[in-house]
Amino acid sequence: MDVIVAGIFIYAGAIKALDPVQFASDIDNYKIVPWPVSVVLAFYLPWLEIFCGFALVVRLLYRGALSISTALILTFTFATVAAKVRGLDITCGCFGHASQHWSFPAHLATNLGILAALLALWVSNRSAKPL
């Protein structure tokens, strides 16, 4: 399970790190933060996802990676729902062009699936000795 979740985060981060200009535009579409903040997030978040993914694979800084990953997926889910509530018809940008035509239910289901996997990792590693 670690490897699957880590793979998702590494893939999602890598595909966005390759095209930060597009990702900044995707963040801006949510109309939650001003453009300069979108640019900062576009350069920073993909690498945070990649580092968290690698930390989950090698089990170094594991709990830190789990907590950041959980916070990220909660934030993405909140942003998705907020966009839908405000009637914004936008591409999610979660997995670059691969997710360009995802519907809202598909997007939400993916996020909730990842969140469920992260929660399972929290539970299964609750008694593990922190590194």
């Binding site: 690498w47 990676a65 907590s67």
Partner: protein, 141 residues
């Protein structure tokens, strides 16, 4: 345990800063910190007027707004009917002509989206976004 978790999270957050800053430096000429649209892809109403007949105006607003009023000679091309309207646009386009896309105002996204699709999907050069959109056009009249 909580302090260890916070410490680990802070270490990861700090580590991610390094490549993030590196990438920001690498892409510094490809993205504007002031506007989602790079300055080289923006055009003012005055500049577009200078181009005169060499401009194809593209209205990226919804059909009903286009029907209400639009820039004289503009073609409607919006996300909702992209597949239907693109061939009509391509029939009018010719190499060397500049394309100016507009939507309602400074804050709308439609013109940017259509401009990106014209560049990437239709592979057209010289595609610009009108600064201030339809509102700017009205003010300039």
């Amino acid at each position: 345990m909580t302090s260890s978790l916070v410490r680990q999270a802070l270490i990861l957050a700090a580590l991610a800063l390094l490549p993030g800053v590196g990438e920001a430096i690498y892409f510094r000429h490809k993205i504007s910190w002031q506007s989602p649209i790079p300055p080289s892809e923006l055009v003012t109403v005055a500049q577009a007027h200078v181009w005169g007949e060499n401009v194809i105006w593209v209205d990226a607003r919804p059909d009903e707004e286009f029907a209400r009023d639009h820039v004289p000679g503009a073609l409607s091309l919006n996300e909702d009917r992209w597949n239907e309207l693109l061939p009509q646009f391509l029939a009018v386009w010719s190499p060397g002509r500049k394309i100016v896309v507009y939507c309602s105002s400074l804050s709308c996204n439609a013109s940017r989206e259509i401009a990106v699709r014209l560049r990437k999907e239709a592979q057209l050069p010289d595609v610009f976004v009108l600064e201030g959109g339809w509102e700017a056009w009205l003010k300039s009249k």
